[in-house]
C-alpha cells in the first residue's frame, strides 16, 4: 500500500442496488414498529362488510379481506411485526450461542472443538421438521416457541461460520505475535478476533433472517406456527393457500410482502459478505 494512502470507507462502493435494498428493509422495519400509528383497522376486527366483499379489492379494504372477515392490509402490516421479530430475534439468539461457541471452538481447538462439533452436528443432522414438531408439541406455539424452534435449527450453522472464520484469523501472524507478547486468550479473542469475526457473522446473519422468516412460513404450512388470529406472513400465506380459489388476495398479498422483505435483506447480507471477503483479502 502506498505510504500516506487512506482507505476508502467500505460503503462508498456498494452500488445503488444496495442502498435501495437498505431503504426497503428500513421501511418495513419502521412500518412494523410504528404500526399502531397508522390508520388501520385492528387486525383482529371482524367486519361483516368485509365478508361480503370477500376476495375483492374495495375502497374500504384496499387489499381485500381474509376468510374470517379481517382486513388484509392491516393484518399484513401487523403481521410484519411478528414475522420480523421472529426473524431477527431467532437469528440474534443463534448468533450469540453459535458465535460464542464458535469462537471458543475455533481458537482453542482440541477436545473442546471436537465436543462442540459433535453437538452441533447432531443438531444439524436431525430432520428439521421432526425437531420442529417435537418442540412445538411439548412447548406450544407462541412466538417464543417458534423462535426457539428456529434457534435450535440455526445456531449450528452460525457456529460453523464463526468457527471457520476464527480458525482462519487465528492463523494470522498478528495473533502469534500477541501470544508471544504474553497476551491472555481472552484478550486475544476480544481485541484481535472479535472485530473480524463479528462482521462476518452479521453478514451471514442477515441472510439467515431471510431464511428464518421463510422457515416460519414453512412451519405455518404444517400448521405449527403461531396460531390465528395473530397474523404472521407465514400463517396468512398458509391460510390463503387453503382458499386459493375464492380469496386470492389472502395468498398473494402476504406472499408479496414477505418477498419484498427477504429479497432485499438477502441481497444486503450477500453484498456485505462479498465486500468483506475482498477486504479481508487486502488485510
Amino acid at each position: 500500500m502506498l505510504a500516506g494512502a487512506k482507505r476508502k470507507s467500505m460503503f462508498s462502493n456498494m452500488g445503488w442496488g444496495f442502498w435501495v435494498a437498505v431503504g426497503i428493509c428500513m421501511a418495513w422495519i419502521l412500518v412494523a414498529i410504528f404500526a399502531n400509528l397508522l390508520p388501520l383497522y385492528s387486525p383482529d376486527k371482524i367486519d361483516f362488510n368485509c365478508l361480503l366483499t370477500y376476495g375483492k379489492f374495495t375502497s374500504a379494504h384496499p387489499l381485500g379481506c381474509d376468510n374470517d372477515g379481517r382486513d388484509i392490509l392491516s393484518r399484513v402490516i401487523y403481521g410484519s411485526r411478528v414475522s420480523l421479530i421472529i426473524g431477527f430475534a431467532s437469528i440474534a439468539i443463534s448468533q450469540v450461542i453459535g458465535g460464542v461457541l464458535g469462537i471458543l471452538a475455533g481458537y482453542f481447538r482440541g477436545l473442546l472443538d471436537e465436543i462442540l462439533g459433535i453437538i452441533s452436528n447432531t443438531f444439524l443432522s436431525f430432520p428439521y421438521l421432526v425437531l420442529a414438531l417435537v418442540i412445538v408439541t411439548f412447548l406450544g406455539r407462541s412466538e417464543l416457541d417458534i423462535i426457539l424452534v428456529i434457534v435450535t435449527l440455526a445456531w449450528p450453522l452460525l457456529f460453523r461460520v464463526v468457527r471457520a472464520a476464527t480458525i482462519e484469523y487465528t492463523q494470522r501472524e498478528y495473533v502469534l505475535a500477541a501470544q508471544a507478547l504474553g497476551s491472555k486468550p481472552s484478550r486475544i479473542l476480544r481485541t484481535l478476533l472479535l472485530p473480524d469475526v463479528i462482521p462476518a457473522s452479521i453478514t451471514y446473519g442477515l441472510v439467515g433472517v431471510a431464511l428464518a422468516i421463510v422457515a416460519e412460513g414453512a412451519l405455518s404450512f404444517l400448521g405449527q406456527s403461531v396460531p390465528i388470529p395473530t397474523p404472521t406472513w407465514g400463517n396468512m400465506i398458509a391460510a390463503g393457500s387453503q382458499v386459493m380459489q375464492q380469496d386470492k388476495p389472502l395468498l398473494i398479498v402476504p406472499a408479496i410482502a414477505m418477498f419484498s422483505f427477504i429479497l432485499p435483506i438477502n441481497y444486503i447480507g450477500d453484498r456485505l459478505r462479498s465486500v468483506l471477503d475482498t477486504r479481508q483479502g487486502v488485510l
Binding site: E173, Y174, A177, A178, L181, G182, S183, P195, L283
Partner: protein, 351 residues
C-alpha cells in the same frame, strides 16, 4: 549428520538459553509425521548472538518457535535462565514471555492492521498492566525514537501506510517495550531490500549493545548471519551439522554441507568483494552429489545429508554421526569432515 549428541553444550549454569534434545514433529496426511526438528541441542550465553542458518525445511524457524513454545516442542527441554519451560504451566509460561521476545519475517502481517502504531507499540505494556497510559505513551515515544522513527508523525497511522522496513522497525520497538533479555529473530531481514536490510541489521546491533540483549538470529542468508553472529549453528533437515564461532565456521568449515552453502553464496559475494578490494576465502571443492532436499517425512537413514554429500560412504547410511568436538568450540556431526580426522579415526585416537 545427526543432531544427536550434546557435546556442543557448554556450562548450563552460564547459559541463558539451553536447548536439550528438542524434537518437533507434526502430523502429516496418511498417519505419517513430519520430522521437522529431530534431537537438536545447543545453548546461548547472555550477550551472545547465536546464528541459526540453513535452507528451507531445515527446521530453523521451527526450532525458534519451539524455544518460544509457540507451540511447545514434541519432546526435549528448553531452559530459559535455568528454568525448564516445558515443565511450566500456562500462566508461568506467559510470565516468562516478557523476557523472551520475537520479531518475525513478515513485519506487516505481525502488526494488527486495524490498530494505530501507538496502540500496537504500547500493547505489551497494556497486556501486563504496566504504568499509566501516559507512562506507556512516553515509553512508546522513547522506543520509536530508538528505532529512528518520529513518534508524532507515526503514532496515529496504521501499519499498511508504511514500508516493510519501517514496519520491521516498529516490530523491533514493540519487542523492546518490555525490556526483554532475549529476542528470537526469525528471518527478520529476508523480506527486505539490501539497503533496508543494512539499516535493520545495524539497528539490531545497536539495540543489542544498548540494552544488553541476547539474540537468536535465524536466517538462510550466510552473509547476513556472519555479520551479526558470534556463534553459528548450521542445520539440515531437522538436524545439526556444525556448531562453531562465526569466524571459524566461515574460514574453516568442516561439514560438507556448510561448505556447499558457502560455495553457493560466495560466487556473488566474491565479485562484490573484489569490487571493494577485498579477498574472499576460496571454497572450491567437490560439488554436491544432488540438490534435491530429501523428504522430512521419510528422511534418509543414518546421516540425513548423505544423499547430497560428495563424501558419503557406506557407513553414513548405517550410522548416524554424533556431534563431536574437532577443536576448541568447533563441533561437527559427520563421519568424514573436511580437514579433520574421520569419526573412526577419532574414535581410535581416543582409545
Amino acid at each position: 549428520m545427526a543432531g544427536s549428541g550434546t557435546a556442543q553444550l557448554r556450562d548450563p549454569s552460564e547459559a541463558i538459553i539451553r536447548v536439550e534434545n528438542v524434537v518437533v514433529e507434526f502430523p502429516a496426511p496418511g498417519g505419517k509425521k513430519v520430522h521437522a526438528v529431530s534431537d537438536v541441542s545447543f545453548d546461548v550465553y547472555p550477550g551472545e548472538t547465536l546464528g541459526i542458518v540453513g535452507e528451507s525445511g531445515c527446521g530453523k524457524s521451527t526450532t525458534g518457535r519451539a524455544i518460544l513454545h509457540l507451540p511447545k516442542p514434541t519432546s526435549g527441554k528448553v531452559f530459559f535462565e535455568g528454568v525448564d519451560l516445558t515443565s511450566l504451566d500456562a500462566e508461568q509460561l506467559r510470565s516468562v514471555r516478557t523476557k523472551l521476545q520475537v520479531i518475525f519475517q513478515d513485519p506487516i502481517s505481525s502488526l494488527y492492521p486495524r490498530r494505530t502504531i501507538a496502540d500496537l507499540i504500547i500493547e505489551p505494556l497494556a497486556i501486563w498492566n504496566v504504568g499509566t497510559q501516559a507512562d506507556r505513551l512516553e515509553r512508546a515515544r522513547l522506543m520509536l525514537g530508538e528505532v529512528n522513527m518520529d513518534y508524532d508523525s507515526v503514532s496515529w497511522r496504521r501499519p499498511y501506510e508504511f514500508s516493510i522496513g519501517q514496519c520491521q522497525r516498529i516490530s523491533i520497538a514493540r519487542a523492546l517495550m518490555l525490556n526483554p533479555k532475549v529476542i528470537v529473530c526469525d528471518e527478520p531481514v529476508s523480506a527486505l531490500d539490501v539497503s533496508v536490510q543494512a539499516q535493520i541489521l545495524n539497528l539490531l546491533e545497536d539495540m543489542k549493545r544498548r540494552y544488553g540483549l541476547t539474540l537468536l538470529f535465524i536466517s538462510h542468508d550466510l552473509a547476513v548471519v556472519k555479520n551479526v553472529s558470534d556463534r553459528v549453528v548450521v542445520m539440515f533437515l531437522g538436524k545439526l551439522c556444525e556448531v562453531a564461532d562465526a569466524e571459524t565456521l566461515y574460514a574453516q568449515p568442516s561439514h560438507p554441507y556448510t561448505r556447499a552453502l558457502l560455495m553457493a553464496s560466495v560466487i556473488s559475494s566474491r565479485a562484490m568483494s573484489r569490487a571493494g578490494g577485498q579477498a574472499t576465502p576460496d571454497f572450491s571443492g567437490e560439488e554436491e552429489a544432488a540438490t534435491e532436499m530429501p523428504s522430512s517425512i521419510s528422511p534418509p537413514s543414518g546421516c540425513r545429508y548423505r544423499t547430497r554429500c560428495p563424501r558419503a560412504q557406506a557407513i553414513c547410511a548405517v550410522q548416524e554421526p554424533v556431534m563431536r568436538e574437532l577443536k576448541r568450540d568447533h563441533y561437527v556431526a559427520c563421519h568424514f569432515p573436511l580437514g579433520a580426522p574421520s569419526s573412526a579415526e577419532a574414535a581410535d585416537a581416543s582409545n
